[in-house]
Symmetry: C2
Subunit: 200 residues, 2 copies
């Protein structure tokens, strides 16, 4: 049996933050045909309007999704509101107690530090959010210039598109590296930013 | 006034094929604040179930979306069904008459060759679909090993994730290269596949 992966979505979650990893995990499910489940989970079973206006119908709510092996929390402007949402933070803390991997993309790391799973851990986040997250003094260290940072079973990614790299890394850890490369090839992820990279 | 961009979605459209470019175009809209419109358009105003199970509520239907400056057709298993959908192909042909840019990702190029805009043009597609598209004998040439191919105002991308590179290139053409780099930085697109690239 494949793993059960839950990807949290909420109003003003950033679209690519969760769809990048969703594509990676669901492509892995298709190639492996292992019955893995990948669920888009919202607090309530109602349409979610993402940060850039895409409207998504969740597969499950936090009340109905069941036990998860992998949790992914995306970023987006909505994290500033959800970090005050005690019901949601409580759910994240509960899921983290039994999940194998607890992950985030972009400013989603703030929900993981606030809820507990990433408190006292080394994390990363979107480059423009590094100082804000440091100011909260929940993480042991907020690292820069990494696509993702692993500390135990908590893996936090940098901004938006970095969730694709993190999800592929995770597929390599859950299965193996040749399989992760097969997923990468199926989604033709041989990236070539047209006007050069941002660093180096 | 910003441009009006329409991204077609249909049942079994591949998630990242359209959400990658959607993120690029909407991030450009946010940074430029030029009133650009980016619409997810379906044949009918009803929920769309994508290839990997994500359910999206379209912003408009092909009957209500109005005139478009940029058209993007994603791929996904659903293209095999939609290539027989004369109403949809007719709409693509109509939009292409007045659009400035006509684009596709992955197997979406087959809809552009079948509908007319890419007929007789040089195109690309997902690596696993190259021979099928060649067999249709609609394109002048189906190129391999390119992230995207421009022929006049038709731009076709390779598989799934390549739509991100193509959309960033297009932002650089519509606006300018420094602005495209600002969009790239906002989405932290400094990709680093964890287990190496696919080529080179």
């Amino acid at each position: 049996m494949g793993l059960r992966t839950g990807i949290l979505i909420f109003d003003d979650a950033e679209e690519l933050d969760f769809v990048g990893p969703y594509e990676v995990f669901t492509m892995a499910r298709q190639l492996k045909a292992d019955g893995a489940e990948i669920l888009l989970i919202a607090e309530h079973q109602a349409p979610v309007t993402c940060a850039k206006g895409m409207r998504v119908l969740p597969h499950a709510s936090i009340a109905t999704c069941g036990k998860l092996d992998v949790l992914l929390i995306p970023g987006g402007q909505g994290t500033r509101r959800e970090v005050e949402n005690k019901a949601l933070l409580g759910w994240i803390a509960d899921v983290a107690k039994t999940a194998t991997w607890i992950t985030s993309v972009c400013t989603g790391s703030m929900l993981l530090t606030a809820a507990g799973p990433a408190k006292g851990k080394r994390v990363t986040t979107h480059w423009a959010f590094v100082e804000t997250l440091r100011g909260r003094k929940e993480a042991a260290e907020v690292l820069e210039q990494y696509r993702y940072v692993q500390d135990g079973n908590v893996v936090t990614s940098a901004g938006v598109s970095s969730g694709i790299d993190m999800a592929l890394w995770l597929v390599g850890q859950i299965h193996d590296v040749p399989f992760a490369r097969a997923v990468q090839r199926a989604m033709e992820y041989d990236p070539l930013p047209p006007y050069g990279g941002l660093t180096g």
